[in-house]
Symmetry: C2
Subunit: 215 residues, 2 copies
């Protein structure tokens, strides 16, 4: 049984979507200062690093992140490679010949290998064109993940891909670190903080290459 | 395949260990106010709600939460019921007759059903006596979880159980909500925020009752 961590580290100064709250961390108690334990306080935005978008992010009256069905976030997922530096179109996705029954799809693009995630924000990341969002919305998907700060390109402020998918109840995971992950089928577990009423939340996401059997 | 959420909701005013930072949440952008998206900022302590203690919480030079091996946090776990309102002793644990090969142990106590977790902090929670910590430390465990704010009773400031287990490299999960969880063997996934260098982190924890097979 192997566990792959798909999560960007959270720390002060990390790349953040322009205008979003920066990450701040401070020690409020410290062994080194003579306290009996070390305790920290962290401040961060709901869309920091590897994170989940809930429908409430873009849809009035949409479900908040704590109301998402865990069935969307935990289960079998397909990792597909989409190389190239152009945004992903419906034609790109059709050419992937995704397996029947694929309900959670993780897209590994140029971004992971080019280091376009993490320490700094890069607006020139690869994302999905509107027609790719429509193509995905026509499938019976529970979750779409990508190694980009957003499923939409940076210049698409209206967020057509977000809208296509969130309106269909598809959970979005952005900021996945898919470096070194081979295409294939895995067990996937993406667990966002259980922030009551929030539009999204930072998450920890892992792939599991075959679970140990239960006795 | 069924997924059980073992995580306390995170929100302002929730029960917090006395002296730890309170939870604060604010909207920094809002659809209702005419923004294109809703975005929130959250401030919270590293030991809020359901959370993981890293060795760095109590041991100088101990590993921080982002360095924990995911093998500890993801895998087969045993849920054991320990009813009663007395703290758990070595004798209580011996009587459980845990299965051979149990490496992740979740203890469901009186706390879950009595509502001693969540909205308010209750110092009268059930925890482990020092001899129970020593008993657990002699086994080859990767993780111990409990439905209490701490593995140590509230009046045990020195944290003998924390020390026994963290010094052996056992990851601790505190604040699990185990209401309604039957004793037995499950797949378990406890994913803390990947906070660089931190002494612990809020986590989302789930049990999975048999994974779907991979093709």
């Amino acid at each position: 049984m192997r566990v792959y961590d798909l999560t960007l580290p959270i720390q002060e100064g990390m790349g953040i979507w322009p205008g979003d709250p920066p990450v701040r961390v401070r020690r409020v108690a410290s062994l080194e200062a003579g306290d009996e334990a070390s305790v920290s306080e962290v401040t961060l935005g709901s869309h920091t690093g590897t994170h989940v978008d809930a429908p409430a992010h873009l849809l009035r009256g949409g479900a908040p992140v704590d109301a998402l069905d865990l069935e969307h976030l935990v289960g079998v997922a397909v990792v597909a490679h989409v190389p190239g530096i152009e945004h992903i179109t419906a034609a790109t996705l059709a050419a992937l010949r995704l397996p029947e029954g694929c309900r959670r799809l993780l897209l590994r693009t140029h971004n992971s290998d080019a280091g376009l995630l993490g320490p700094a924000f890069h607006p020139d990341y690869v994302a999905l064109r509107a027609d790719a969002g429509e193509w995905l919305a026509r499938r019976d998907l529970l979750l779409v993940g990508i190694d980009a700060p957003s499923v939409d390109p940076y210049d698409q402020e209206a967020g057509p891909v977000h809208h296509s998918l969130l309106e269909r109840g598809v959970v979005l995971v952005e900021g996945l670190d898919l470096r070194g992950i081979a295409p294939g089928v895995y067990h996937f577990c993406c667990l966002p903080l259980k922030l009551v009423g929030a539009d999204g939340a930072p998450a920890r996401a892992v792939l599991i290459d075959r679970w140990a059997d239960l006795p």
